[in-house]
Symmetry: C2
Subunit: 342 residues, 2 copies
DNA sequence: CTGAAAGCGCTTACAG
DNA sequence: CTGAAAGCGCTTACAG
């Protein structure tokens, strides 16, 4: 029954109505009589007609697509977030394009070009290292309400940000360690230029102060969130004369890399050093000692980000006050923390 | 200098040539005199012109997009493959759309619709559970050369398949275990309906036979590739009267789940039971004991799949003999295997 | 090498 | 409620 690809004219002919009526029964059925609707639907079934997206997009100046900018698609940390984004967006009928921002360093279009291209209706950015100039340009443009940040963000911009409650996470980590009796603590942070690095570090130190622990002599190490940098942190830790008894890591992967290296060196976790991570990636519960960590609801993050962006597409004007949606986090106590040795 | 979005007419006016010349200098510059090209490029710079994709797509009946069908975007196993796909495709100027096949169970278009929609130029499928009827329909259609499978596949179809050398991987695992002196072996496989399950299981058993080990009494357990199913396998293993001394797992995640559970129960890996995985995911080298496994080049898999599909887009006719590209695998020896106890 | 013009397949103001 | 017609922004045979 189907063979040659059919277009709206074929359907119009088949059903004996105008192309306008065909188009309307598809886009605004309430404008069309039931009788016509039925004829059109029959004809569509008979012809196997499908609306041509390119034509519709050209006509309506819309793309039905959302671009997601990810710093590294190969990093499993993002997978749950992306899954949440995809689910919500595809449910609303959007195509989801993923762009790895590391890959197209060279020929990458400027952010604004994605819009002027007619390539996207909106952009979701998971990359805090986004070029400032391009963001400023977008901010002043008519596309300002079509951009949102997830997880990471660039400070001093007015785009919505959907992120975890990093401050609370860091505070929970500090309080947990303090409650166990630790006094000499350390922090393995992300890279200095990353937004999350500052927020989590400050949150951790502030919470220590509030708990009556004078800060200033903590051991601080800057990693890059990866397993390997956890190993590096361990190397450095092992050189220390006076080692902290408890450590807060800005990512689970770094915590895991650290535990592995330090265990190989003969130390015991948590007896010799308590370790608490951040993220609660799936494997955290499966390594031994099972990792105590801060749970981030990554799926929810993606979900909410998609919803927020969709909301933004409806308004032409960007919201006046910068919109920040903070997702709750929680301490997940497992085996990698315990009271310090006397 | 840029404000209102400009179109090809603006550029034509600005440069004093026809829209045809503008279009040509962008798409087929060799057809245009250098003088005209220069005028056009100047005008483009001045106006900030960008080709409207929807219009070009409509006109050329092309989409410049490739759809990637993934069974579960949240599964980190796929991330490296997707990264390879995205890199290769975006380098060639394609948009990459990811669709989670679990998500859109309901409103998912039939495969053929993605083409008739004008939504894609090609489809890359990572999901062996693809509906057979839709594949048959595609196979007979004009789109037959625009589809390729990666990692997994559906048997008895003529689409290209880009996959790892699963047979060799299973053989290497068997030979490694046998070389260590193991005689009583077991296999934790994927789910029965998965293509990889059969291939890896058969490869393993055949290699055992060839090594002079009579097969038939191995312990076989069907998991689903996940950490949790590795734990389940361990539960079952612990009940066994006469336990195998060496186990081959169809995924690293299952191997890791198994090690964790069995270690909690007081067994020692590898002394009490040798474990070998499949995949070589990054964490495999960081757990303890470090996991002996079979390396799959996931990035390369994605890369080659993208190239193969792109190649297919150039030909109208599907290749006569089904195209199968097999990527080499290798044994990665670490700490989770050793000779059996006497 | 260049331009005028048709047309890709839709949607939607406009008129009835 | 319906249809005729314009037009979204390109590309490309065709003629010169």
């Amino acid at each position: 029954m189907v063979d040659k690809k059919s277009n709206i004219h074929d359907v119009a002919r088949e059903s004996g109505v105008s192309t306008a009526s065909v188009s309307r029964t598809l886009s605004s059925p309430e404008l069309v009589s039931e009788k016509t609707r039925k004829k059109v639907h029959d004809a569509i079934r008979k012809t196997g007609y499908r609306v041509n997206r390119a034509a519709r997009n050209l006509r309506t100046k819309t793309t039905n697509s959302i671009i997601v900018l990810v710093p590294n698609l190969g990093n499993p940390f993002f997978s749950a977030i992306l899954s949440g984004i995809e689910r919500t967006l595809s449910k609303e009928g959007y195509n989801v394009l993923f762009c790895d921002t590391q890959n197209d360093i060279e020929g990458a279009p400027r952010l604004r070009d994605y819009f002027e291209d007619g390539r996207t209706d909106g952009i979701l950015i998971l990359d805090g290292a986004c070029p400032d100039a391009e963001l400023r340009e977008l901010e002043k443009s008519e596309y300002a309400s079509r951009v949102a940040f997830v997880c990471e963000w660039v400070p001093k911009h007015s785009f919505p940000v959907i992120r975890s409650d990093n401050e609370k996470g860091a505070t929970l980590a500090a309080q947990h360690l303090v409650a166990l009796g630790h006094k000499h603590l350390g922090h393995v942070a992300g890279p200095p230029e990353n937004v999350l690095t500052g927020v989590r570090k400050t949150g951790f130190l502030d919470a220590l102060e509030s708990s009556g622990i004078s800060t200033g002599d903590e051991w601080i190490y800057n990693g890059d969130f990866s397993l390997e940098s956890g190993v590096q942190a361990a190397e450095s830790f092992l050189q220390l004369q006076d080692r902290p008894t408890g450590l807060f890591f800005a990512s689970d992967l770094m915590a895991i890399g650290f535990i592995t290296r330090v265990t190989d060196a003969g130390l015991k976790v948590p007896e010799d050093v308590s370790v608490i991570g951040f993220d609660n990636i799936e494997i955290a519960g499966y390594i031994r000692p099972a990792l105590t960590t801060i749970r981030q609801s990554r799926h929810k993050l993606g979900d909410l980000a998609a919803q927020t962006l969709l909301e933004g597409l409806k308004h032409t004007e960007p919201s006046l006050s910068p919109l920040i949606k903070v997702i709750d986090v929680a301490l997940v106590e497992r085996q990698s923390t315990c009271p310090p040795k006397k």
